[in-house]
């Protein structure tokens, strides 16, 4: 017997600010949180050009939690917001019956860098807390400890698909009854010097604003942040009368299997979206919005556009990539975009992308918005959120308005 799964809590930390309200208002007003703070973050680099970053506002120094790297602090902050909003912390079985499944691509990059700085530049030992700050499971551990959660708890690390994979696993566990609640999503700090340097060498970083699906798109804008969802069985959520953002109705994950390592394969993306809609028992005709993975690269966006065109087969569905606003947060991006999709679905609006000349060859119904103006309205009940990672690892989530 499969149970239906509701999203009952949402917490966000992103370049758009701290907290879900800041995220929502940034999206509604289409105000990008991407800035040119590269030299502050990477003092050792001198060749960063016009590269922008999505930096979480506020002091960069860690405060009050010396054992936690940025990715773990962001996750904890987002989890606090989501759990408080869901009103689950005081429920009698929450601590035993909640899973904690979060995604991250890199874990604690700050601590990893700090260790190299100490060892290599100053010939001293790494900090004793290096291991527990670097480890990818630090965020999950911190959330379990903060709320006394003792159920199944683990981290998924599949690059850009990490947190969509995590949400999908959590969804399947609540659906099957393995647990009654799940705290899920993902977080990421900014990459360290070496990883950032490698991103530059890959020649995929945008040399101006991040403009997914636009004619003059030039690449990715790396960013940091976290989003956490609280999932609960729909019946239970309705019974206790809590606020329900949306129902999570479908999930699919798959691999391109044998495709090119760096260039996504439209066949794998299409298969993944189709399987997710099938899992949700939803036809493509019911779909009203797709939050695309689209990172802003020439080839990646074109491949996804092809997959979406083939999925829709002429049907008109609004498509946007909110990476234009919050940047590409790698292991957290699936969760931020799930949050954006849910907020739009619930409020009846579509997160748009700052106006740019669209790439007409893509053949999509793209949503552009003049920053500061009201968003386009969303009428249909169903939306899809895509995530595709290096190595051809794909994920798609389907949400339905209650």
């Amino acid at each position: 017997m499969k149970r239906r799964v509701a999203v009952v809590g949402l917490g966000v930390v992103s370049a758009l600010g701290h907290g879900r309200p800041a995220f929502e208002s940034g999206l509604r007003l289409c105000r990008a949180g991407l800035s040119g703070g590269v030299f502050t973050v990477y003092p050792r680099l001198t060749n960063s050009g016009e590269t922008k970053l999505g930096v979480v506002p506020g002091p960069r120094e860690r405060s009050g939690s010396p054992g936690l790297d940025s990715f773990a602090r962001f996750a904890l902050e987002a989890a606090r917001e989501a759990i408080a909003e869901a009103g689950v912390a005081s429920l009698p079985h929450f601590q035993e019956r909640a899973a904690v499944i979060l995604g991250t691509a890199s874990g604690g990059e700050d601590a990893r860098e700090e260790a190299w700085e100490r060892v290599s530049a100053r010939q001293s030992k790494p900090h004793p807390l290096t291991v527990v700050r670097v480890m990818a499971n630090a965020a999950v551990g911190a959330v379990c400890m903060a709320f006394g959660l003792r159920g199944p708890a683990y981290t998924i690390s599949t690059a850009c698909a990490s947190s969509s994979h995590a949400i999908g696993q959590a969804y399947q566990m609540v659906r099957s009854g393995a647990v009654d609640y799940a705290v899920t999503g993902g977080s990421e700090g900014l990459p360290g010097h070496t990883q950032f340097c490698a991103w530059q060498q890959m020649r995929v970083l945008a040399d101006g604003p991040c403009r997914p699906f636009a004619e003059e798109r030039s690449g990715i804008t790396l960013a940091e942040g976290a989003a956490v969802l609280v999932l609960e069985s729909l019946l239970e959520a309705q019974a206790r009368g809590t606020h329900i953002y949306a129902e999570l109705t479908g999930f699919s994950m798959g691999s391109d299997g044998g495709a090119d390592w760096l260039n996504a394969d439209p066949d794998g993306m299409l298969r993944c979206m189709k399987d997710a809609l099938e899992d949700a028992a939803t036809g493509a005709d019911e779909l009203s919005y797709i939050n695309a993975h689209a990172t802003g690269t020439l080839r990646g966006d074109a491949a996804e556009a092809e997959a979406i065109r083939r999925l829709l087969d002429g049907a008109r569905v609004m498509v946007s990539s909110t990476k234009a606003l919050h940047g590409h947060t790698l292991g957290a991006t699936g969760a931020l975009e799930a949050a954006a999709t849910i907020l739009g679905l619930e409020g009846g609006w579509v997160p748009g992308m700052p106006t740019a000349a669209p790439d007409r060859s893509l053949g999509l119904d793209l949503v552009w918005q003049q920053p500061g103006t009201a968003p386009a309205s969303l009428r249909g009940p169903v939306a899809l959120s895509n995530s595709f990672g290096f190595g051809g690892l794909n994920a798609a989530l389907v949400f339905r308005r209650i």
């Binding site: 691509a105 004793p128 527990v132 999950v140 551990g141 340097c197 690892l393």
Partner: protein, 406 residues
Amino acid sequence: MTRRVVVTGIGCVSSLGVGTSALWEGLVRARTAITPTRLVQAGLEVTLPAAPVTGFVPLDHFTADELPMRDAFAQYAVVAAREAMRDAGLGRGETIPGDTAVVLGSGGGGEHTREEAAVRLFGERKLRCSPMLVPKTNNQAAVGFVSMEFQVTGPSFVISTGCAAATHAIAQAFHMIRHGVVRRAITGGSEAPVALSVFQAFDAARVLSHTTCRPFSRERDGMVIGEGGGILVLEELESARKRGAFIYAEVLGAGMSADASSSVYPREQGPAQAIAMALREARLNADQIDYINAHGTGTQVNDRVETMAIKLAFGEHARELTVSSTKSLHGHTFGGAGGIETVATLLALKHGVAPPTVNYLGPDADCDLDYAPNDPKPRRIDVALKQSFAFGGLNAVLVLRRDVVQ
């Protein structure tokens, strides 16, 4: 309706050698691979006991063109997966692409590659990094290569929960088959942490032994880092039977829990809860378990708390169990540990021998169970447990039964 899940193939690369027979040879001959290991990088030097993989020649397994994209942790996963698939009698093209999952564990991903890049940037102050650094060091690299190798298009992901990663991964793969999401899975984990930066970070945390790994023994003084990978092929029982595959064991249950107490100091309640959860799912009583392949890292605190957890979960029956830590032979391979050690557990079930805990000097007040000290212990093993615990208090336990009982 849940389905029954069996293991039909195993593969391994470890410090005891390439292949599962080298692993088993090393275990039953009580021949530890731990050796003083000197690592030099950018003018820095560390010598510590470790268990590196030796006798593994990358060019025996990959072409010169393939190697630059593959960090050692991904190489170990692919080579172990090849052996496991061969062992299961499944070649390339013999799986149904969308009906197979690849779920692997890794704690650190491409540590060697990451270290080389850091040496260049921080040590030599060169401002160029390889563009392949990101995809090569990411944890999912191993899964990507394994899914490409066998053209798997089903669910593919990586769990990264440090020392418990591979056991968590096997638990997920088991549940996916059990609930009908896929029919087969390639699962386990790999790690290549014999790198200066990893040694330094763990040494700074004061968890590494400067002598050797002697789990559950008096005078134990820490863990010893090893490397390698262990992979299983899991399959739905009916499909395994239909093709007449050899069945190593049935996976009956998996338990997962969090301590929710401290990131460094484990508590016995969390692991005991995971054991209870795994037994409940397996519909077995505690007294039906014969052998536990322990997490047994060799640190004072882990081995004490693990022994307490076993007593808490098993009560009087704890005295009837044989509990051993093969980490004393192949080192602690972090995200790969659950893979290699589950392979060891399956071989223990197959041969009716509990592999030993070596370097054992005698009991201490905290650790007083039967740890198969120093010599392999032939005994009846019908049902075995594999347990893994990670920093951050994240626990995973598997229940494996040799015979498929009606």
